[in-house]
Symmetry: C2
Subunit: 600 residues, 2 copies
């Protein structure tokens, strides 16, 4: 189906909005009246700009407080409408949205509403305009879609139909099944918006918290199925009022928006995309750093060994078991200081994974960085992290390790208690505006599931964290975002390494000269109050700075290294099916990090 | 009464919070458990720190999910409580908050709750601790204050009393009058928080949106009167969970907090402060600028004349009628580029106004800047703007104009159509975190009333605006704040000058070489749709960039100059008692400003 977006969903001037919608691949736009009023472009110029950008103008919106009023008031409303229909002729659009009235002058009189909407449609017809009447969830007398439809039906005018808006329908808890009783050709327009499930005043909820389908809690796919069954064949149009999107860069928002519509259409069989290829593990994490020394010291103390070096680039491979970390000291160190730049995802079908990512509008990165490199499929995540879809030592597929030459190194003695054996999870701090976008990206592009979103109290502000994971838990990525833009170093990214004995791992790390983040004594006094531990257990945790959590499934023990640049490491031990990340302990860890300067 | 604040209400480390509370003049604190857990200080060190800072520890909080559970669970809870009572002994505090349980294990059994709370109180008594039981608004079985009190009463234990929290009581719509039926000595603690009136989930409302008394919509004063009548004589303590305060600088928040308690106490006769001295007009606005030329060009074109120069400083006085603007090119130009640095408020009693401001914790500025200057009472507003309480040409009071020497200038011909005659309003953009603080400051310190708060859609983000005014409307200050920190130049401050003929004023301004901000043609097409104008009227507005608004009382016409640095000017014509500021037009004006580079 054709896709469209209301200009109010994007930030910036009208020109910026139109450009962003076009670049993201939308077919059309709804022109929001205030965007037009504030634009220096004439309606004819807007029309031409849209044509140049390959955009149709699918709707002009909104017209408010038209119907069910005393005759003198209605005469004024018709006068106003005539001006707008003339404007629409200049714009070259033939559909206008009329919202159910909120005027205190309006009468609770459906027959009057139908008669006046019919007269409005008469006038509209003279201008070649079709009127789409929509129930606002907070409309004065008409607030449900079936009520709006009954008025449209009663008017029985060819230029009058209804507009359905998923927010107005689902926020009221209306059953969308009744949509199928509306003749498809009388559904003149469909506006889609999701929203988080908040118990709050519906008008405030609508004006500030709408989001793109799949980013909230509504069953938009279910509603869309009913609309399709009714026979609607107009555009799928996003109308999202969101305080954050109002501030975010329009181009990014538009891509996020269209991705949401692609996934929505796929979910009900309206679009066919390359299927998701769920990663089966983390092949590697890649750090960039201007100075390998501090990172190397920590990795060595963590028990990883430098086993290989890239053939043509200053990139070292550090590994232990399936935990592999690349340390890149090349000019690719684009970020300030030391940071996490890329993630290798072990993929059963790297090419297929990249095809899906591309279909879902992820920027595709060059397959070969140098002529001699093995081909490697990669895309950029919304936060700029490079995601490589790759295979480790699987004969049927290009092997990313083939680009690395083995270094002679002293093998450490076989099995060691507490040895790190894989990456448990990666924690990626997202740019302020892009939390929902990142979650949708990781779910739709990578086929990961979202876990519960949690608030974490940092001493200097709340932030929000949400993990995405595959079903086996072998890929876990924790996405976090602060409450506002910040330069705060402690909102760094981190790599958590799994061990089956965190106490032994921590001791060995310390013995090898590694610096563990010390935790406050009061924390351990509180653990003693909350849980009973075996003799000496708590003293050990206290000594090593190990944090403890427990859920219905199992236990979690974890500790942290000092921060290097914008990165730190965590050692984690999961027992008995614990699924979380120790969010309970995060405020204590964050406070401890605020008390320390990062190493450089 | 003694004042106290919960550490959770302030941002930062525990040490930073305690320091801020002490500096703002609080007598005590509630220690929030998570702040203690995350602190590297031992309980003994925290106790000593508080003593050094002159703070008592009035409460340790919270203890959760204690009561009405099966015996084996309760035994674990008592064990946990014993640990906390030991901790409290080390801290040197004797009161603990117990919140009504939210545990799914809890039984709906008041007798069991009373019996177990009694046993908890037995244990507490051994440690010299008093238990204050509070109903959470979302408690599982106990969610109202009278229910919590009935359980405390049934337990009949000397070490068990109740804690009242204004948020939990008022958010549920409970009638606070019943508080008077509780014996004062059984009200062990009182926590105060206000909140905006939002229809939303009460837990989310409580956790994110609480604010200080007078900043929300609750009748905190009414509740406090009931508590005082009940005989409560403990501290007034603020417990505020607020996403913004979590990020704001603790020292500023603590001052804002204590100011709110002072005003609250004054409002019900518990504190005696110097009375408010409401300003009767705006004596002057003072601009600082590194280069007087662009400002002078605009002021001259606006019809103001440079009439006087400060005796000892590079400050010029520009005036016309009662519109007076100082242009300061001295080193006092602290801000980057051109900005509004000070406001002179015409005061019937400048010294009294300053005494009140000082009592309400406003930083008092030196009365004489130089030995020869006339004494001038001044304080700093929260945004750093200097507020001078002054008198213009009133013989009984020091005259600020006495410091200025008249310049020879050519008098313009007497009455001129559209001449500017006074400052209609000043618009001051507030730092991001300080909107509620600024509104409370202007209301309490200056005795101005708050007008309605409105959302304004800037093309690049929503912002919020709220005006404060005196009853005659001769002082109007519009406070605005953006949705997030921004460097955006168009969120500048501005000075609106009143005229009784904005068309004539705009024409003269333009004829004198002034640059008016052009407005888009589409805006005028929309005006034509909405209103009927006299012949030629709209064409004039369109030509000059005059915006139009209308409310139930009257009409408003206004236009804007180009921006210089961070300041621009507005010409406004109010007719028939219009009370607003043209907020309806602000998105169009903001978009027009985004399209222009400010002059420097």
């Amino acid at each position: 189906m054709r896709t469209s977006i209301a200009t109010v969903s994007l930030s910036g001037s009208l020109t910026e909005k139109l450009t962003a919608a076009s670049r993201a691949g939308f077919d059309g736009v709804e022109i929001f009246e205030n965007d037009l009023l504030a634009s220096p472009l004439t309606p004819e110029e807007i029309r031409a700009r849209c044509a140049d950008l390959g955009l149709t103008i699918d709707l002009y919106q909104p017209m408010r407080d038209i119907e069910a009023v005393p005759e003198d008031e209605f005469a004024r409303n018709l006068r106003r409408a005539r001006h707008k229909f003339e404007l629409m002729r200049r714009l070259g659009t033939d559909a206008v949205l009329v919202c159910s009235t909120v005027s205190p002058l309006a009468l609770d009189d459906d027959a009057l509403a139908a008669a006046q909407l019919g007269r409005l449609a008469d006038l509209a017809q003279d201008f070649g305009v079709r009127v789409a009447y929509e129930a606002l969830a907070w409309g004065r007398h008409v607030s449900t879609y079936d009520h709006a439809w009954s008025i449209v039906e009663a008017a029985g005018h060819p230029a009058l139909g209804t507009c359905l808006d998923s927010f107005h329908i689902l926020s009221r808890g209306s059953d969308p099944k009744g949509i199928e009783d509306i003749p498809g050709e009388k559904i003149f327009f469909l506006q889609l918006a999701d929203a988080p499930l908040l118990a709050m005043d519906v008008l405030q909820w609508s004006r500030h918290y709408r989001c793109f389908p799949g980013q909230g809690g509504f069953d938009i796919a279910g509603l869309l199925q009913h609309v399709v069954r009714a026979g609607y064949d107009g555009p799928l149009s996003l109308e999202v009022f969101n305080d954050v999107f109002r501030q975010a860069e329009a181009g990014t928002t538009a891509v996020d928006a269209r991705r949401s519509l692609l996934v929505l259409q796929e979910s009900i069989g309206l679009a066919s995309l390359p299927g998701p290829v769920v990663p089966t593990g983390i092949a590697f994490a890649e750090l960039v750093t201007p100075d390998a020394e501090p990172v190397a010291a920590i990795l060595g103390a963590l028990g990883l060994a430098r086993t290989a070096r890239h053939r043509s680039k200053p990139v070292d491979l550090w590994e232990r078991g399936e935990a592999r970390i690349l340390v890149n000291t090349g000019p690719a160190a684009r970020r300030d200081g030391t940071g996490l730049a890329a993630v290798g995802l072990e993929s059963p079908d790297p090419e297929g994974a990249a095809r899906r990512a591309e279909a879902l509008l992820a920027p595709v990165l060059p397959r070969r960085r140098a002529p001699e490199d093995a081909p490697l499929d990669a895309v950029a995540a919304p936060d700029g992290t490079e995601l490589f879809f790759c295979a480790t030592d699987r004969p049927e597929l290009p092997n990313w390790r083939a680009d690395f030459e083995t270094i002679e190194y002293v093998e450490t003695a076989g099995d060691v208690a507490g040895a790190v054996d894989r990456i448990d999870h990666l924690a990626l701090t997202q740019p302020w505006h892009h939390f929902d976008e990142a979650a949708l990206f990781h779910r739709s592009v990578l086929g990961l599931h979202g876990q519960e979103s949690v608030d974490v109290a940092d001493p200097y502000g709340l932030f929000r964290s949400r993990a995405v994971t595959n079903s086996g838990g072998s890929v876990r990525i924790a996405l976090a975002v602060g409450p506002a833009p910040t330069e705060d170093e402690t909102r760094a990214q981190h790599i958590a390494l799994a061990t089956d004995d965190v106490v032994a791992a921590a001791r060995r790390f310390r013995a090898a000269g590694g610096g563990l983040l010390p935790m406050p004594a009061n924390y351990y006094d509180d653990l003693a109050a909350r849980y009973e531990f075996t003799e000496g257990e708590l003293a050990t945790y206290r000594e090593l700075g190990i944090l403890y959590d427990r859920d219905a499934q199992g236990e979690f023990r974890h500790c942290y290294t000092r921060t290097v640049g914008r990165v730190f490491f965590e050692l984690v031990q999961r027992d008995g099916g614990y699924q979380g990340y120790g969010a309970q302990n995060a405020p204590v860890r964050l406070a401890a990090q605020h008390g320390q300067r990062p190493l450089r």
